[in-house]
């Protein structure tokens, strides 16, 4: 032993210190999430890779379900129950684009911590990243669907509302914040209550119909909400209630920009002009989107706090 060299001194004095404690502060949590952004991108890439490898047609296959949904709704709400909206498929597409994104985030993030138990039990990293990665994955599919949409619009030679196009990135960002926050919350709850996912599926079905995707808010709902009769002579305006759904303003912004024609001529015989979309100025749309963003940010803070309380026991509950 005497001939071995003396142990090298490895300088550690200035290495960063990590603290494991029962209740890390919220600031620390934000910092850790921010520092794990590269890991986030890895989760997204590997997620897509796994799905891509699992089926022969890969990414194309992932477009099958959205395409089938679009076709079904188009037949049911456009042909069987005719609704006199010209180019109804495009109207539908604009809304479904958003819905698919939202649905994808919520449904996959709910079970993401349970699904990735293997790494949650073995490696330390901010677990919120898992739910956030589903936002990234769904966003990739969203972009692909946007590509299909552009082709669709070119084929129909249907121009968007160019002047309002800049609203779309803001819109999708606001929705991503909201959906990601809700996803973080649900992913933690699902560890303790494993049937959360089933409840969420039911809730999302209802949510879908509370959002103006297969019908037009302006044409079919607006007036009814304006005059809700309570008792004999009480008339309430419940429009605000409808707009508590944060997906609605986002869907309507997309419809406004992509479908682009607030007022159209009915396809059925007396070709009367009517409004499919509200004729609000751009500023109203902007305000609605900012509202969703604000709600999303508040929910994010709540989600991180709740998640932090539940996260401590993940490794033992899985």
């Amino acid at each position: 032993m005497s001939d071995s060299p003396p142990p090298a001194r490895r300088p550690v004095e200035d290495r960063p210190v990590r603290i494991v404690s029962a209740r890390p502060s919220i600031g620390l949590r934000f910092k850790e999430i921010w520092e794990s952004r590269e890991l986030l991108s890895y989760f997204v890439i590997t997620d897509i890779k796994i799905k891509y490898k699992a089926s022969a047609l890969g990414i194309l296959w992932s477009m099958f379900a959205p395409a089938a949904t679009l076709a079904i709704y188009w037949v049911v709400f456009g042909k069987i129950l005719p609704n006199s909206v010209p180019n109804f498929a495009l109207f539908l597409f604009a809304g479904l684009l958003i819905w698919n994104f939202f649905f994808g985030v919520i449904i996959t993030s709910t079970s993401v911590v349970v699904d990735r138990a293997g790494i949650v039990k073995k490696v330390a990293f901010p677990r919120e990243i898992l739910a956030l990665s589903t936002v990234g994955t769904s966003f990739v599919y969203f972009l692909i669907q946007c590509g299909v949409m552009v082709i669709f619009m070119l084929a129909l030679w249907h121009p968007p509302a160019w002047g309002m196009l800049w609203l779309l990135p803001l819109s999708i960002f606001a929705l991503a914040v909201f959906a990601g926050s809700l996803g973080i919350l649900l992913s933690a709850i699902n560890v303790y209550l494993r049937d959360t996912r089933h409840l969420i599926e039911v809730a999302l079905q209802l949510w879908f119909f509370l959002t103006p995707i297969v019908y037009s808010f302006e044409h079919q709902i607006s007036k009814k909400l304006h005059h809700v009769a309570v008792g004999n002579d009480h008339i309430l305006n419940l429009t605000w209630l409808y707009f508590l759904n944060p997906v609605t303003p986002i869907v309507m912004t997309f419809q406004r920009v992509i479908y682009a024609q607030p007022t159209v001529r009915a396809t059925s015989v007396p070709h009367v002009p009517y409004s499919v979309l509200p004729t609000w100025p751009t500023s109203t749309y902007l305000l609605l989107n900012l509202g969703v963003l604000a709600a999303g940010l508040v929910l994010f803070a709540i989600a991180i706090t709740v998640f932090g309380r539940l996260e401590g026991n993940f490794a033992e509950e899985l």
Binding site: M1, P7, S21, K49, I50, G118
Partner: protein, 384 residues
């Protein structure tokens, strides 16, 4: 010295549910919630590890070793207390580093690297040395779910030791690798020691702990019962085990309690000559008659096991009361040096320890010849 791992009053409780209500439906049907008992897996454990130390964690099954390491890695959050870790920590917790089974070995290496805080470029640079160390060149693009458990551990260990960690934490995973790979891991661990890195390892092999670690911590039912030089800790651990096996082991005679009081020689000194006879006496008290075996161990100062005798060659029968055993070795085939002597009695088929005294004496062997090392060999050479 700078503390690299500082564990401050850590407690961890697990809630063991007798009846678990894991769904909303169950919660509605049983609004009271499930019944549970709390299990104290770690109870107010504190210690601090300086840069460059190698620390072994000993303890019986379920004593909280893995729980402690998981808290240090940050996978589990303690209920009370906090842990400070300075620098990067690479951990191998019970079977593997948390790979994603559907991903290939290559993707998993990048993912693990990223979880340890490395950028893609860093991992690019390390990738070849990781694959080379794991010797899995032919399998890097195979999905990890098709790996054998040894291959899995190889890759996990290769990642952990090639990412230049300041602290390496290993939870008895090495046992899965084949012999050659285990030797390679041990070499790497020794190299880490020379480089001044900090290492924590859980092992059920007390000899390994003694030879590898300069310090060991013993856990028992979540409490730390020893923290000190590995020789001392191993002694406390073995004695706790032998105290326990009497009450737990079905094979052991239930009521027998034997205590080894002293180990002495006629001259009063534990001095011997190479290749000459040596003998000592063991004084002990048994409360019952006992049939079992005598066993002794010799260790060098740095913890290498020189010998553990075969118990079946040394049967013993004791009657109740105080008595002395005379132990004689006809020839001591050892070269000069100091050897730590441990003695014990095994019961039944020789598998459970009835009494144990760790390092009761230091045997000084003197030698007049010129050979060096541990054992004398006298080669005879002729022209063939």
């Amino acid at each position: 010295m700078t503390a690299v791992v500082q564990v401050e009053n850590i407690s961890k409780r697990f809630r063991l549910y007798h009846e678990r209500h894991r769904s909303v439906k169950d919660r509605i049907i049983h609004p009271g919630g499930g019944t549970y008992t709390d299990l104290q897996a770690l109870d107010d454990v504190s210690f601090s590890i300086d840069a460059g130390q190698t620390v072994g964690i000993l303890g019986r099954n379920g004593s909280g070793k893995s729980t402690l390491l998981k808290c240090i890695c940050g996978v589990l959050k303690p209920n009370e207390g906090q842990i400070l870790v300075r620098g990067t920590l690479a951990g191998l917790l019970e079977l593997g580093a948390g790979f994603q089974p559907e991903l290939s070995g290559r993707d998993n290496v990048y993912l693990s690297g990223s979880m340890l805080g490395f950028s893609r470029k860093d991992v690019d640079r390390l990738f070849d040395s990781i694959v080379e160390f794991s010797e899995l060149e032919g399998f890097v693009d195979t999905q990890v779910k098709f790996y054998s458990s040894g291959m899995y551990v190889r890759l996990a260990f290769a990642v952990a030791v090639n990412v230049d960690p300041d602290v390496l934490v290993v939870d008895e995973v090495l046992a899965v690798g084949d012999e050659r790979f285990q030797a390679k891991c041990m070499d790497r661990i020794r190299q880490f020691q020379l480089e001044g890195r900090t290492i924590m390892l859980v092992s059920h092999n007390a000899d390994q702990v003694r030879s590898l670690c300069d310090r060991a911590i013993v856990l028992d039912h979540g409490r730390m019962i020893a923290d000190g030089p590995s020789g001392d800790s191993v002694r406390i651990f073995r004695e706790a085990l032998s105290a326990d096996s009497r009450s737990v082991d079905a094979e052991a005679p239930v009521n027998v309690s034997i205590s080894i009081e002293s180990v002495t020689t006629s001259t009063g000194r534990f001095a011997a000559h190479t290749n000459e006879a040596f003998g000592f006496e063991v004084a002990l008290t048994s409360n019952e008659s006992f049939d079992g075996f005598f066993v002794m161990e010799l260790h060098t100062h740095d913890g290498t096991l020189v010998t553990r005798t075969d118990p079946t060659t040394a049967p013993v029968s004791l009657s109740p009361g105080h008595q002395r055993l005379a132990v004689s070795l006809p020839a001591l085939p050892l070269l000069d040096g100091d050897y730590e002597l441990s003695v014990g009695l095994l019961s039944g088929f020789g598998h459970s320890v009835a009494a144990w005294r760790e390092q009761v004496a230091t045997l000084e062997v003197s030698y007049d010849g010129r050979a060096s090392g541990l054992v004398p060999l006298a080669p005879r050479v002729n022209l063939a």
